[in-house]
Amino acid sequence: MNLAAATNENLANISNTLIYSSMAVYTLAFFAHIAEWVFGSRSKVGRTAAALKEDSATGGSAGKAQVAQGGGTALLERPKVVTRSAAGTRDVPDGPGAAGGTFKGDLWGRIAISLTVVAFAVQAGGVVARALSVQRAPWGNMYEFSITFSTVAVGAYLTLLALRKNVRWIGLLLVTTVLLDLGIATTTLYTDSDQLVPALHSYWLWIHVSTAIICGAVFYLGAVGTLLYLFRDSYESKLANGGTPGKFATSVLERLPAAKTLDTFSYRINAAVFPLWTFTIIAGAIWAGDAWGRYWGWDPKEVWSFITWVAYACYLHARATAGWKGRKAAYLALIAFGCWLFNYYGVNIFVTGKHSYAGV
């Protein structure tokens, strides 16, 4: 028994070291991203403005058509498909990304991503070591929850990158928040490695908490997209109305994907996660039924999960309702994510309920 305890403590220490190391590497990645943005700012782009001008010159609303790119030589064999955006939507090209198409910027961007991959691997190791040290799912308290949360967020981002999705623009913001999250986790939320109280012993812990973490992490990516959409959208409207945005705003926003792309990205993310979030709540209800004798009892955590769920349902409805698309729906999406965050931090810290035995 003593021997086992010693190993556990060793593993816990290893986990802590790994988490701190990943923070160091994330910090390097953060600076590499900054370098990417700085070098990228030296390029002259102005494509958005050009596209918008051209649009108004040709009478606008007709909508422009583009040839969809097939793959390689097959293109010669098969008929080309022309795509056209719906009438009335702004049709501007995506920005070139943080690197602005400059070689140096791109190099730094690649370095940043490589560092992020390394940091992710180290951090994931930290989470696994923690799990081994306590011999259970590493989600017994807020510290463990937080380190897993940012690991999953970065993992989701890297997966999207690996699938060749246009997501490099998330990099800097993501790494910044990961550092923030880990900073809070290691300083104020830290809890020594230990086992769970009997109430948490259940395989529903694996199911319910893991999906909750995945939902939060991916909702977060969606929220970043929504936030940037709002900035980029006002930038585009300003340009379209003949205004001139500030120099800094231009430099940054010009390089982001088009507002429409960002909007679609967030919608897809949120829509993809919503069924999983629904499942998370139901799994929680089943667990509550087993543990506390009622599947729904309006415990603060349950209430806020419900509020978050309804808020996201609101957002999805808004998208399907004429007159609510675009910015209004985007605000709803941000409110919904705000609810998720409050459910995680706020409820655990400020409100006492049945869920607060997890030692914060």
Partner: protein, 574 residues
Amino acid sequence: MSNTNTTDERDLGRAGEQLSTAPREESATSVPAMGVIGWARWFWRQLTSMRVALILLFLLSLGAIPGSLIPQNSVDELKVQTFKETHTTVTPIYEKLQFFDVYSSVWFSAIYILLFISLIGCIVPRTGQFVGQLRGRPPGAPKKLTRLPAYTTWRTDAGPDQVREAALGILRRRRFRSHTVGDAVSAEKGYLRETGNLLFHIALIVMLVAFAGGQLFKSEGGKLVVEGDGFANTITQYDDFKSGSLFDNDDLAPFSFDLQDFVGTYERGGPQRGTPRTYEARVTYSEGADGETKKKVIEVNKPLDVDGTKVYLNAHGYAPVVSVKDGRGKEVYRTAVPLLPIDNNVTSTGAIKVMDGYKDRNGKKSQLGFQAFFVPTFAGDGQGTMFSQYPGLDYPVLALNGYHGSLGVDSGLPQNVYQLDTSKMKEFKDSNGDQLKKRLRPGETMKLPDGAGSITFESVEEWASFQISRQPASGWALTGAIAAIAGLAGSLFIQRRRVWVRAVRGTDGVTVVEMAGLGRSESAKLPEELGDLAAALHTVAPTAPDPDPDPDPDPAPETEPGQPAEESAEGAEK
């Protein structure tokens, strides 16, 4: 906007019609026709509109907030009481607003009832419409296919009939519902999206009804059982009992159980010393009036389930066994007395009440009462503390002080079994005239002064408290929940889209093929799929060699100025 554009859009509108059953938005400002019926119709149309559904959903989430920040009667009545005592100014306001019962308040109920009326008012016509769509066929091709979100064209030597035939075959093989209208094939796929969406919304209603039913018919009660004792499921056996307003006593499932043994283990060392590790209540139970006896270990997450009634392990504590001898040396009392824990290390308090059979030295009837303080692990003599150091039974000590007189149990008022009413009792004094108290180890005895008898701390039993609850219709709620997820997945992941293939013989005798696709939302998948379909059709109807050396290769007979300018591939869908 030019005139041609508007016609175009109207043309497109017809092609895109009925691609969903979402209600059309009507302007909120449209003034209803006069008269009661006019207003009623206007009101109904508003209530079942998407905008109002959106507002009600938003209100629902807003309305749920106060219940999470203010203590709720349904969750913890004690907390509500404390809150009311400390917040005297806001309490009357909160009470008016039913803020202590948010989830059963008039206003919260109003929100969700309106939402669900709106939902039903939305689902019924949508279902009808959808059935109509399933019966009907995808609409014919719009005049100008070039206006659609995804479009492709080529010229082929194959005849128009042949092309349409081939297209029909390809589309059907890919499970498009397709048919030929005039010179074009119309096809549609993805009806599961609508099915899923309707299923989801119907499942929400099922869940609500199941939840409401569960609340109305539920029953829930608590029972504390000492090791060796048992419980039979009748109302009189409960320590406390709550039930829904439509609950009937006959709804209680007949069964009984005995607590054989309770096992609790705790962390031995480290910073989390004393944190519980396992709680196990080992019981034997029998179903029905005289069913066979079965064994079961009830744990925190593993209730005993008898015919839909679940028995949960709720809490545990210690019950010291004490015996009392009266003035003549006769044992008049021997019971395990459950004491209530007051901290995490199970420091416990309670009362021992000897009501019948006790006679003092002179043979006079009397009653005895003892205030009991118990620690499973004593800090040690001289440590000056009577708080437990550890929740396990390492060094049990029972501290007692005694009274004699009348316990006041005959007054007819209900009494708390854990508290002693000493108003009609006198303290036992020691030889110095101080109150008699003593700390006992198991097996030790405290003598009462003046030959009044003695009390012995025999041993320690453990008790467990159980919550016995029945919530009907939870199976329905679960079914609804699963259906909701399935429906959602269908609704969100499946695209409903249409494809048209037009084949017309051009003036030069060569066939012009045009294909176009339309979905509810712009998606990268749509042009991809159209490309695949076109490639498949292209193998049957390959591009004809261009007989015309003219540098403008555009073959479309309906070419117009809006013809797409081919752009660099940069901005193309990725």
